[in-house]
Subunit: 410 residues, 2 copies
């Protein structure tokens, strides 16, 4: 049997890690599951589940409760749940008009959260980072668990290199070549590893794990703000492209003879459906921001013809761009976030009409459109997911050495 | 140690399969490798490699040769190569103006190949399938190994549901709802499992495995013919979307006020850069096909102003669409196939200028454009890769039972 052992033996630790990861991912997404549900979802045997749960319990990452007898025959399956306070990440977000910070525990529980408006849009990168560090420090002062943070996830409205959190461009912040990862590392001190990603990519991740696209494997998240952000999930995983720059759907050229875009091109999707385009079409100040958008939405709800016309024109261009993306990506679900989620109930038919005309029949009939359910906080929650990723991918690094535990529990 | 074994034992067969798969994939892509190279590429130990190669040799899928001493110290590492004649697939292609069939052996060696023109474009699906079956039968009569075919891969210029090879639409064949997989199964008889996919998706796969994008993980393949096909590789794997319909880049809306497209929409990319658009711009018959395109290319090479102008206009729209896709997908390599590969040397600067203006700087600077190197046959070679996939994903199903072999070789 030498052949057999040789081809397997040195890899058994890999298998244990993969199984621990599968279990912890299920628990993290669901919060709590019975052992029987874990058997069903992971395909592992009952005894394997028992052993692996034992390891996670010993590390205090999860707890087991004896379930109440259900009146059904047989022993009730113990309920396993994550211990949110025992594995906490710091999530940060730099949006166009606000900064946010949250402490999130394993299982996705938000332990504390703060968001502050950023009324001035002309602040330099250094000032924004300082404000964000200040916000995070306030949060951590209230919650001393912040000392033992697992890591930090950061959502930023810009084009991010995943490897080191370098922001090559963030037109809506006025940034170019900002080493955001390095600056936050310097500012935050010993808060664990820092991972930075584009806010729409993280919004997509959050909506897939905990929101409107829960359970879907192929998802397009499109969020309208000043700019238009996109996040793409392929086969259950974020599609980041070769260097993490993927998903910039706001800059597909839908009208090459159209208006100039702040990216330097002309006729980008964002120039037809972004917040500014909506306000322009409604005859309101283009830079009016959330206040003007809210007023416009109120007018539309009250039946104002000009407000509704402006929205339908945005809806039409929204449908045009979505059709292109449906043809390229064949998503199961499109999640509309931000502005798009808010106007969706009013312009649903316009969007669907354009989609019906322009999407190829097969992918067009398959796709479902849903407004985002996590609201403004989707990118922040996605940033937390990003920070949990190392633990979820390989929980064994947070556990006591395997042999020790096996002996101890024998 | 019960805990440890329980969490691992029942999964060891999975690990063995994964390791066999990794080795056979490397050999299939490279043709031949030394044991040392296999160690380096797979991360497996020398003794694991030896055992697994032994299994593949026993199944006659690969052979080992003692390498010539190189004059370097130590024993030379034996060279392992695939046995192309021992695992053969049938690859078929339905292109707009031709049909093709090939027998391809493990390692990617083309054992035999035929392509016939399809001058009449108005044939019904049944007639095309009959012609293709006839072509395949001719090939297999010459090569009786066809009896033991591993499977059949089919490339078709249409929108394909991967699960059963159902073609929902193929505008350039005039098809709607054709159960191509079922029809070929009926026509080919006992030729093994049949997998059908879009021809550009398969062209992309072939260019990544054996052509212009070899070694790249994030690739966009765009091929110009009558229509425009696209294939997307994300993280080394074909991105097919939720049902296999992804990659239809010819139908992104680049000019919503433009010309009608045969898909029913208006201003699709295909209406600006397809073969018909090029001929139209050059004042030649739009349905002139390859003959007219060849004449146009000759004129352009001879310096004809009007021919070059037509090409530059196509190049400009090519750049516009590519920029959109670069922003969405962040590919490392764009492979231009078909018409686009042919005109690339003439319009390279025009494409790059438009890309420079419209792609975001970070993904724009990262991407490399390369003409396809596998030419007309890329989709056919990709169809072979598709048919090899079950063997490559799990070679153990083609091997003698594990325990038997281990005892025999002990």
């Amino acid at each position: 049997m030498t052949t057999g052992r040789d081809s397997v033996g040195q890899r058994s630790e890999t298998v244990r890690r993969a199984n621990l990861s599968a279990i912890l991912r299920e628990l993290h997404t669901s919060g709590s599951l019975s052992r029987s549900e874990l058997v069903a979802r992971t395909g592992l045997t009952r005894s394997a589940i028992r052993g692996l749960i034992g390891e996670l319990v010993a590390a205090d990452l999860v707890s087991e409760e004896r379930a109440e007898p259900l009146g059904t025959p047989g022993r009730p399956s113990p309920l396993v749940h994550t211990n949110p306070e025992q594995a906490v990440v710091l999530a940060l977000e730099i949006a166009v008009d606000s900064l946010a910070a949250a402490e999130v525990g394993l299982g996705g529980r938000v332990l504390d959260q703060m968001r502050v408006d950023r009324p001035r849009r002309d602040l330099a990168a250094g000032e924004i980072v300082a404000d964000l560090v200040h916000l995070a420090a306030g949060l951590r002062r209230d919650h001393p668990t912040g000392e033992g943070l697992l890591g930090v996830g950061v959502a930023v409205v810009g084009v991010v290199r995943r490897s080191d959190g370098f922001v090559s461009t963030a037109p809506n912040l006025g940034w170019r070549d900002v080493p955001l990862g390095d600056r936050l590392r310097a500012g935050l001190g010993s808060a664990g590893p820092i991972a930075v990603a584009n806010e729409a990519d993280l919004g997509a991740l959050a909506e897939v794990r905990r929101g409107a696209a829960r359970g879907a494997d192929d998802v397009l998240f499109v969020s309208g703000e000043v700019g238009v952000g996109g996040g793409i999930i392929v086969d259950g995983k974020p599609m980041t492209g070769a260097a993490g720059y993927g998903g910039e759907v706001g800059h597909i050229a839908v009208n090459p003879a159209g208006r100039p875009c702040r990216c330097g091109s002309t006729g980008c999707w964002e120039t037809e459906v972004g917040e500014g385009a909506l306000l322009l079409r409604a005859g309101r100040p283009v830079d009016g921001g959330r206040v003007e958008v809210n007023a416009l939405l109120r007018d539309a709800a009250a039946g104002s013809r000009s407000a509704l016309d402006a929205m339908h024109e945005v809806g039409r261009w929204l449908g045009i761009g979505l059709a292109s993306l449906v043809n390229v990506l064949n998503p199961r679900v499109i999640v509309l976030g931000g502005l798009f989620g808010r106007i969706y109930p009013l312009v649903r038919e316009t969007i669907e009409e354009e989609l019906g005309r322009r999407a190829l029949p097969a992918p067009g009939e398959l796709v479902r459109i849903a407004p985002a359910t996590l609201g403004l906080d989707a990118p922040l929650l996605g940033a937390a997911e990003l920070a949990f990723e190392p633990l979820l991918a390989d929980p064994s690094r947070w556990l006591p050495p395997h042999g020790m535990l096996a002996l101890a529990s024998a």
